[in-house]
């Protein structure tokens, strides 16, 4: 299985503060890789490196190479807009637009001019909502405000919105941290289903969640990558003492 994302000697700075130290890592295609570690360890920063979302922070600085499908996304000629279409993102707090449910999903399709006509647009929206397991719950109220949905539904709407632009990679930044157990379970089932078609990088605080959904797990601490291994091995025989201490709850 080839690696979709290949990161070499990545360093990341907020002004003078270094947030990530010399990270090298490969993310295999069509797998779920989970990123765990204590708060402030740089896992969210790392995730936002992959779709260049940190570009919005003026003092952010990156060194090293990040290659997706063999192309360096920090090369000067990179089209960031095209990159973000290919690398979708789901945020910690659901962030639907102040529009209808339909228009939330249609937004990405429209701005990227992916649809042939109105029927095509409707089909794409329906497919995205079905893929995110939300269709049955919203099909009768597509034209109502997205704010009328529950927290879990809003988060799945955000996933549908990301899927609608047909990305290849999906980054998820603690997508279930604000949700109740039932909504969390739905998101987790969704992640497992989605990896058939997508490469997924998921940041989570919840180690059981990492164990349930991911194929491989990476453990970050204080901006350094401590260990990356197949999830099962990580949670049974980790290579590093630090990983074991964290996973067994000796600190955290």
């Amino acid at each position: 299985m080839g690696s979709k994302i290949n990161i070499k000697n990545l360093n990341f700075f907020y002004g003078a503060d270094q947030a990530l130290f010399d990270i090298s890592l490969k993310i295999p295609e069509r797998q779920v890789m989970a990123f765990i570690g204590p708060s402030g360890c740089g896992k969210s920063t790392f995730l936002r490196v992959l779709n260049r979302m940190n570009d919005t922070i003026p003092i952010a600085k990156v060194s090293g190479t990040v290659k997706i499908d063999g192309k360096d996304i920090y090369a000067p000629k990179t089209d960031v807009v095209a990159l973000r279409r290919k690398v979708g993102m789901v945020f910690q707090k659901s962030n639907p637009f102040p529009k209808t449910i339909f228009e939330n999903v249609a937004y990405g399709i429209r701005i990227n001019r992916m649809h042939k006509d109105k029927t095509d647009l409707e089909e794409r929206v329906e497919k995205a909502l079905k893929d995110s397991a939300l269709w049955d719950e919203v099909k009768d109220r597509l034209n109502t405000s997205a704010f009328g949905l529950s927290g879990g539904q809003q988060q799945r709407l955000c996933i549908a919105r990301a899927l609608a632009v047909q990305p290849e990679v999906i980054l998820m930044d603690e997508p279930a941290s604000a949700l109740d157990p039932i909504a969390t379970q739905k998101i987790e089932e969704l992640v497992v289903e989605l990896k058939e078609h997508y490469t997924i990088a998921i940041v989570t605080h919840n180690m059981q969640q990492a164990a349930r959904v991911s194929d491989r797990t990476a453990f970050f601490m204080l901006g350094k990558l401590i260990e990356v291994n197949p999830t099962e091995r990580m949670f049974t025989h980790p290579d590093e003492k630090l990983t074991e201490d964290y996973i067994t709850g000796r600190f955290g």
Partner: protein
């Protein structure tokens, strides 16, 4: 025992301070209520259909403020057409790209401009437009009103846009939306009701301005729909009535004031309805 004394003292001081601030708050309401009541008392009897529709006539022959209402309306609309797009545009710039030295400069100048007495704006437009055109005009009046509006609208627009959560912008950026589209169809709609409120408040503010119109739009005794001609306005008409020597003119000044205050009140009520509609 000592505790009881301290406790009673605290209760006493607290009671005094509460009453003092309550008195100040009542004073604020009282001023407005007294002004409104007095205007209504003095002005109401002079209001009639004729007063609302006719043009001013020589003293003793009746007449009205119809042309002044129309003139104020035209100049307010024209000023809004000039001032709102520029003000909103500047506000969008300040909020989205205004973190460098240029934004800071613009913000400082806008804040200063808000504090400039409106008569100075009037003199400025007088020099810039009226002198070259050799006559006062509704356009010159509108322009001075627009200049007063722009910094207010720019700053309120900026504030409102800054209230749009960052997560919403990031959501759109993450879908591959270019910056301008994020601003145009995510941030602006999200801030729309707030921006509309700022715009209405600016409109309410300029519809009460007299000083900048004295030099620029002057006044007119007739219905005038051409903005290159001198144009009547409610505020300047009130000024003329009030400075006249006759009691009947003063009466009309009160009536015209009542109309003006009523119109501004209506604008403010519309603003309230706008702001209430938020989720």
């Amino acid at each position: 025992m000592a505790n009881d004394i301290a406790h009673n003292r605290r209760k006493f001081v607290s009671g005094v301070m509460t009453s003092l601030t309550a008195a100040c708050a009542t004073f604020v309401i009282a001023i407005l209520v007294i002004i409104l009541a007095y205007i209504a008392y003095r002005g109401f009897s002079a209001i009639s259909w004729e007063f609302l529709t006719e043009t001013p006539k020589p003293v003793g022959e009746g007449g009205g403020i119809g042309n002044a209402i129309v003139g104020s309306g035209i100049m307010t609309v024209l000023a809004s057409l000039i001032g709102l797009p520029i003000g909103i545009g500047a506000g969008v710039y300040l909020a989205e790209f205004g973190d460098k030295w240029f934004g800071t400069t613009v913000r400082f100048f806008a804040d200063t401009l808000i504090g400039v007495p409106s008569i100075i704006v009037g003199i400025f437009v007088y020099t810039l437009i009226v002198l070259p055109m050799t006559r006062q005009s509704g356009f010159a009046g509108s322009l001075s009103l627009a200049i007063i509006m722009i910094p207010i609208v720019a700053r309120t627009t900026e504030e409102m846009i800054r209230l749009v959560p960052k997560s919403m912008r990031e959501g759109a950026l993450a879908l591959g939306a270019p910056q301008w589209r994020v601003t145009w169809n995510i941030v602006l709609p999200a801030a729309a009701s707030g921006i509309a409120t700022g715009a209405m408040l600016a409109i309410a503010r300029i519809s009460g301005e007299t000083a900048p119109l004295l030099f620029t739009a002057l006044n007119s005794r007739f219905y005038n729909f051409y903005v290159d001609q001198p144009m009547s306005s409610l505020t300047v008409q009130i000024y003329n009535f009030a400075t006249g020597p006759f009691e009947v003119e003063h009466q009309m000044a009160w009536a015209a004031t009542l109309i003006l205050v009523g119109l501004i009140l209506i604008i403010n009520i519309i603003v309230r309805m706008f702001t209430k509609k938020k989720y």
